[in-house]
């Protein structure tokens, strides 16, 4: 599989603070990656290093096959960092023309990309007159100008209203569906869950996990249960080795599985034991729950 970005033992220190510690991972073509981590976990620093704006302390990284310089490689990358940064006194069109000059892209792309993000009718308005949502969409248009091999987004929905968030998300999904590799840094887990196939989880600059989303923790899912015979249900579950952790919250019993079991099998088993369930749902942990489990393990 074609690799796009390889990071080896990357370390960044700001004085005494180690923002990124011995980080290694690889980004392959065609996947949608999420970098997860709480605020201050080193997501933006990592992206800053590979994007040539932050100097690394140790380690190495290379784009594509490693034969191009970083700044030439970046011409094949589209990236948005934190806030959209443009010249306030220039119009959207003029700003994008400048980006075209930097990236050696033909000007004809400008209108095409403005169309995608829905800013074509505002293209001659000055950037400073734009709302935050429009600025962020312009940033996406700018990142798409060179039809990038990989699109890097750092907290793309930060500070947007629900409508703006929705617009950006559907844009990202649309771009992902066209086969563009995406690297999305976020602390909003549902955002990552909705679009990403792979995740890298960071905490305090240390990598906790990298790989496909579904393999993040070895889990067989859990049942959410309700029954009239509440106490019997709990004692039954507690004695059964197939179940691990049992939680009760507002009368809702959550039983985590130690080994695979489907809902039909479970229901039959309960029925034979004389317990009639009034509520039975089998679920996998959401990314948020998985993430919290993963980060909690180290506390």
């Amino acid at each position: 599989m074609e690799t796009i970005l390889t990071i080896n033992n990357l370390t960044k220190k700001f004085g005494y603070l180690t923002a990124v510690k011995d980080l290694s991972f690889t980004i392959n073509k065609g996947n949608v990656y999420g970098i997860l981590g709480p605020n201050g976990s080193g997501k933006s620093t990592t992206l800053g290093i590979v994007l040539n704006v932050v100097n690394k302390t140790q380690g190495s990284f290379h784009w594509f096959d490693g034969k191009t310089t970083t700044h030439d490689a970046l011409k094949k990358v589209g990236a948005i960092i934190e806030r959209p940064n443009f010249y306030p006194y220039m119009s959207a069109y003029q700003n994008l023309r400048l980006v075209c000059k930097i990236k050696d892209v033909d000007y004809s792309k400008i209108d095409e990309k403005l169309e995608i993000v829905g800013l074509l009718d505002r293209k001659d308005h000055k950037f400073k007159t734009y709302s935050l949502g429009m600025k962020q969409r312009l940033a996406i248009a700018s990142a798409l100008l060179n039809d990038p091999e990989i699109l890097i987004l750092d907290e793309p929905t930060n500070g947007l209203d629900p409508q703006g968030i929705h617009q950006i998300r559907s844009l990202i999904k649309q771009i992902a569906s066209q086969g563009t590799t995406i690297l999305l840094a976020s602390h909003l887990l549902d955002e990552v869950e909705k679009v990403c196939s792979h995740v890298v989880v960071l905490r305090k600059g240390v990598k906790l996990y990298s790989g496909p989303v579904e393999e993040m923790i070895s889990s067989h899912g859990f049942f959410e249960l309700k029954s009239n015979k509440h106490d019997e249900l709990i004692s039954l579950l507690e004695t059964d080795s197939k179940f691990g952790n049992i939680k009760v919250e507002n009368g809702l019993v959550t039983a985590f599985l130690n080994e695979p079991m489907d809902a039909t099998e479970f229901n039959t088993y309960m029925f034979n034991k004389g317990i009639i369930l009034s509520h039975l749902v089998k679920r996998k942990e959401s990314l948020e729950e998985q993430f919290l489990q993963l980060t909690d393990k180290l506390n």
Partner: protein, 274 residues
């Protein structure tokens, strides 16, 4: 190279403030030059015609026009520091680098622009001096006209040097106003050191050392022409004679400073986390 200049010109010329300042920095010295060359009649009381003082004679005209035009370099200095300051305050420097401009290219695009505008200013002053000279000068032999055109070279080197200094201060403090303040601080500092050395040793030594300082070495390129004007009127007054010529070593000093400032700007950007 053209790509980098083109890039910077778009940033500058679409910004109204820098457009106005660039316009002023070119038009003002030019206007002053033209105005001073025409005959001004003060309501019939007397007429002032600077041309009759002989200051527009070749070759002294090169000295005078470049000296006075250089005083207007401050306007473009504001443009230079603000073109760095704006990149930092808009965070567009970060975006430029992310978009695939290398740090070296970023500094070079600023430096090339400085060279470009310095060349333009030199050409403008050169052509207008030539025309005014041809009109007023008592001597128009080619050999005399081309004598002392090295003042034009000195003017160019002086501009590039001064703006490179502004570039470095802009990169250093990231804020336009502070960068201009730094220029003033440097000016005071150079004079304090001059005073200190004079106090410890003597003025001659102090001045010799000061001639190597950035601001003084740039100033020294084109010495003040007033004494020389007086000298043309009273050629027998030997005690006011002084060395006003442009010397190769003066140019070398300023070029060395220019190279140092550009290099330091690059190193600063390279080491800095944005």
């Amino acid at each position: 190279m053209l790509r980098l200049i083109n890039l910077e010109l778009q940033k500058l010329l679409l910004n109204r403030a820098s457009k106005v300042l660039i316009f002023i920095s070119f038009i003002l010295p030019f206007t002053v030059l033209v105005l001073s060359s025409i005959k001004i009649n003060f309501f019939g009381f007397f007429t002032l015609e600077l041309g009759e003082l002989g200051i527009f004679n070749f070759p002294i005209i090169w000295h005078i026009t470049t000296f006075f035009a250089a005083q207007f370099k401050f306007f473009f200095a504001i443009v230079v520091v603000s073109m760095i300051g704006n990149e930092y305050s808009n965070k567009t420097i970060k975006q430029n680098l992310i978009d695939g401009l290398s740090k070296k290219e970023f500094i070079l695009s600023k430096f090339y622009t400085i060279v470009f505008f310095s060349l333009l200013a030199t050409a403008l002053i050169g052509v207008s001096s030539l025309l005014i000279g041809l009109y007023y000068s008592s001597y128009t032999e080619v050999a005399i006209i081309v004598r002392e055109t090295d003042f034009l070279l000195a003017y160019f080197v002086k501009l590039v040097g001064f703006f490179s200094l502004c570039l470095y201060f802009g990169m250093l403090v990231k804020r336009s106003a502070f960068a201009l303040g730094f220029l003033f601080v440097l000016f005071i500092l150079e004079n304090i050191i001059l005073g200190l050395i004079t106090w410890q040793f003597n003025y001659d030594l102090a001045e010799k050392i000061q001639n190597y300082f950035p601001l003084k070495s740039m100033y020294k390129l084109i010495d003040q022409p007033f004494q020389r004007i007086v000298m043309t009127k009273f050629p027998d007054k030997q005690e006011i004679a002084y060395d006003y010529a442009v010397h190769w070593y003066e140019i070398v000093i300023v070029i060395a400073w220019t190279a140092l400032f550009v290099f330091l700007s690059y190193r600063l950007l390279k080491k800095r986390d944005l």
